[in-house]
């Protein structure tokens, strides 16, 4: 029973992480049809910022990490994706692939390809002991931060002027522009928010692994893809739901697969992606923007 509880806690923690990464991707996809493969590199540059900063107070670290990730997000929007606006989704995906590849190698160029160790916080590495179940403080913080960010993003999209414009743009970009929504501002804001999410994700990830490498962002972004496909491309609620569903699948595969099959975990997870694309390509929650109009 204790073991099962531990698995549930793991599933929720992983789910929160996947949801956090997935949100950043779903937000951009909803508005401009871009699957931002380079989202992982936003997490990576944030992580390098943490290493390079040394050890100021945690608030400074968090703020600077977010600032760096947001700056890179805005930079890639301005330099690459704005000139490509209106290109087909596969073209945009290839462009984001190129950015991802370029940024990873920029990290290699500047910092070398060897992983760098760091220690973020003593407090976060401690655990609460509840009976025989140990709950790392980091897990609680991860879940709480994800839920808080979700709530904040929801409020922003529902209650603020920019949020409403963003939802309008996600639903019908052309119509929104005709009605006076400024495309550049809306898209830049969306990238800014995805940078913010990536920065926070970077802090939580580095606090967990204590290690930074140029390809740090690859796995998070792969898992985020799975989460967003499962949940429904372009739907924010779908990305979050998909994140938690995938968290459960992930921990389930890891804990209950026969031992000799366990190393095939990712193969099963991605086979599930293909199955989902075939059976229910719109995902668990259908975003209104992806319904095809002929």
């Amino acid at each position: 029973m204790a073991l099962f509880l531990q698995h549930v806690i793991d599933a929720i923690t992983y789910g929160s992480q996947f949801a956090l990464y997935g949100l950043g991707i779903a937000l951009i996809f909803g508005i401009m049809g871009l699957i931002n493969f380079a989202h992982g590199e936003l997490i990576m540059v944030g992580a390098y910022a943490i290493v390079l900063m040394g050890r100021p107070s945690w608030a400074v670290v968090v703020l600077v990490t977010i600032a760096v990730a947001v700056a890179f997000a805005l930079g890639m929007e301005r330099l690459a994706f704005r000139p490509l606006r209106g290109a087909s989704p596969p073209t945009l995906l290839i462009a984001s692939f190129a950015i991802s590849y370029g940024l990873q190698n920029l990290a290699i160029l500047i910092e070398g390809s060897a992983p760098k160790g760091t220690h973020v916080s003593n407090w976060l590495s401690e655990s609460y002991q509840v009976g025989s179940v140990s709950v790392p403080k980091l897990d609680i913080v991860t879940v709480a931060v994800t839920i808080a960010l979700l709530a904040a993003l929801g409020l922003f999209l529902q209650r603020t002027r920019m949020g409403v414009q963003m939802r309008a743009a996600a639903e019908d970009f052309r119509m929104a522009r005709i009605l006076g929504v400024r495309a550049n501002t809306v898209i830049a804001t969306a990238f800014g928010i995805s940078g913010l999410l990536a920065g926070i994700g970077a802090y939580l990830l580095v606090a967990q692994t204590g290690e930074v490498a140029p390809d740090l962002g690859s796995n998070p972004v792969l898992y985020a893809f799975v989460a967003t496909v499962l949940g429904g491309m372009g739907s924010l609620r779908g990305a979050v739901l998909g994140g938690y569903v995938f968290g459960a699948i992930f921990v389930g595969l890891q804990s209950y697969l026969p031992l000799e099959l366990r190393s095939y975990r990712d193969a099963f997870a991605f086979a599930a992606v293909i199955a989902m694309l075939l059976v229910r390509p719109q995902g668990l929650i259908v975003a209104r923007s992806v319904v095809t109009r002929v």
């Binding site: 989704p89 190698n105 290699i108």
Partner: protein, 370 residues
């Protein structure tokens, strides 16, 4: 006479491309040092892979991010067949018997790499080819992750993350060149075939092609299997060039390189695939020399690992932004024009007005107006 000229115009890109690749490879190989020679071989293997990628992506217009997994399958298959039997017994004692005791020559093993890759592609063709656009992109990407995970985990056969080693290094310039030229011929025959033309029609206008009785799915499946065969051959060649490799070699970086070559040249034409490969191979080599450190007079530029990749990424982005349809603009090599011929002027003016439609004149034999 007119018929002969039409036929010549329709097929002339093939001999021109073959000659171009042959000449560039031979000149670079003859003029270069040992490093350049290695680069020529790698460039020719990459060219084979890019032609394979083109057969599917270029003709169908559906992007595949998983094609390199077929190169991986080809490399493992060919590798397991060429490693000498007694060596296999030491290095991989857990190999299933029929693999452990089978041995193929270099050419046979490379062909088997293509066959096994094509066989795996047949299995995936049924589900994957129903998808289009971004869903196809994600599904093929998933295929890449699946194949890599299996190659890393199926320790008895693939030797796990350590990968295969002890392959006789047999892929030289001549082998790589012959296979690359054969791939170009295959790519040209495929795109000129009735099935290839139907597939290209569906790429330009899916709905219109269907209304004319093109099944689309069927054409895509055939193209998918053919492309996997060519990718498998390329992978087999790579394995026998490297001597040892693991699954990570056939993953994101190679996917990016081959896609970059195709996109830079122009995905819609065979000429684009060739021109893109040659251009990127050349640029990558120049950047690589800078990356390793060069002496400019008394100044020493220190080694900078990563520079080549950054350069490639920037070039690819620039092409996507400035010339989205690639260097060739998606056309085949144009028929050399003699000045002052009325027929050619007419073609030129329709080409200028036509935009997209202009591409078809190189692909489909059009009756000569003169």
């Amino acid at each position: 006479m007119a018929l002969a000229r039409t036929a010549l115009r329709a097929t002339w890109p093939l001999p021109a491309l073959l000659l171009f690749v042959f000449a560039v490879a031979e000149i670079a190989y003859a003029a270069g040092d040992d490093v350049t020679r290695g680069v020529v071989v790698v460039a020719l293997i990459n060219l084979t892979l890019v032609i394979g990628l083109y057969v599917f992506v270029g003709n169908s217009g559906v992007f595949s991010f998983g094609s390199v997994s077929f190169a991986s399958i080809g490399a493992y298959t060919a590798g397991l067949l060429v490693i000498p039997v007694d060596q296999k017994a030491i290095l991989q004692p857990d190999l299933p018997g029929f693999i452990a005791h089978t041995h193929f020559g270099s050419v046979g093993a490379t062909l088997m790499g293509g066959v096994v890759a094509a066989a795996v592609a047949v299995v995936f063709a049924v589900p994957l080819m129903q998808l289009t656009g971004i869903a196809a992109g994600l599904a093929t990407f998933s295929l890449l992750v699946i194949v890599r995970t299996v190659a890393n985990s199926w320790t008895e056969v693939t030797n796990g993350a350590a990968g295969l080693s002890g392959l006789p290094v047999t892929t030289g310039k001549n082998d790589a060149l012959v296979w690359a030229l054969l791939a170009i011929v295959a790519g040209f025959l495929f795109q000129s075939s009735a099935l290839g033309l139907r597939l290209r029609a569906s790429r330009e206008d899916d709905v219109a092609a269907r209304s004319l009785g093109v099944s689309v799915r069927m054409e895509r499946r055939v193209a998918w299997v053919v492309h996997a065969f060519v990718m498998g051959i390329g992978g087999g060649l790579y394995g026998q060039y490297l001597g040892s490799f693991n699954a990570s070699f056939f993953y994101l970086a190679l996917t990016f390189t081959t896609l970059a070559m195709l996109v830079v040249g122009g995905i819609k034409s065979l000429t684009g695939a060739v021109v893109g490969s040659v251009t990127i191979s050349f640029v990558a080599e120049v950047l690589h020399r800078i990356e390793e450190g060069v002496d400019v007079g008394p100044l020493h530029v220190p080694a900078r690992p990563g520079l080549r990749e950054i350069g490639l990424a920037i070039i690819m982005l620039a092409i996507l932004i400035l010339r989205p349809r690639g260097i060739t603009n998606g056309r085949e090599l144009p028929w050399p024009r003699l000045p002052g011929r009325s027929g050619d002027r007419m073609r030129r003016s329709t080409a200028e007005q036509g935009g997209d439609a202009a591409e078809t004149y190189a692909d489909v034999p059009v009756k000569d107006p003169s």
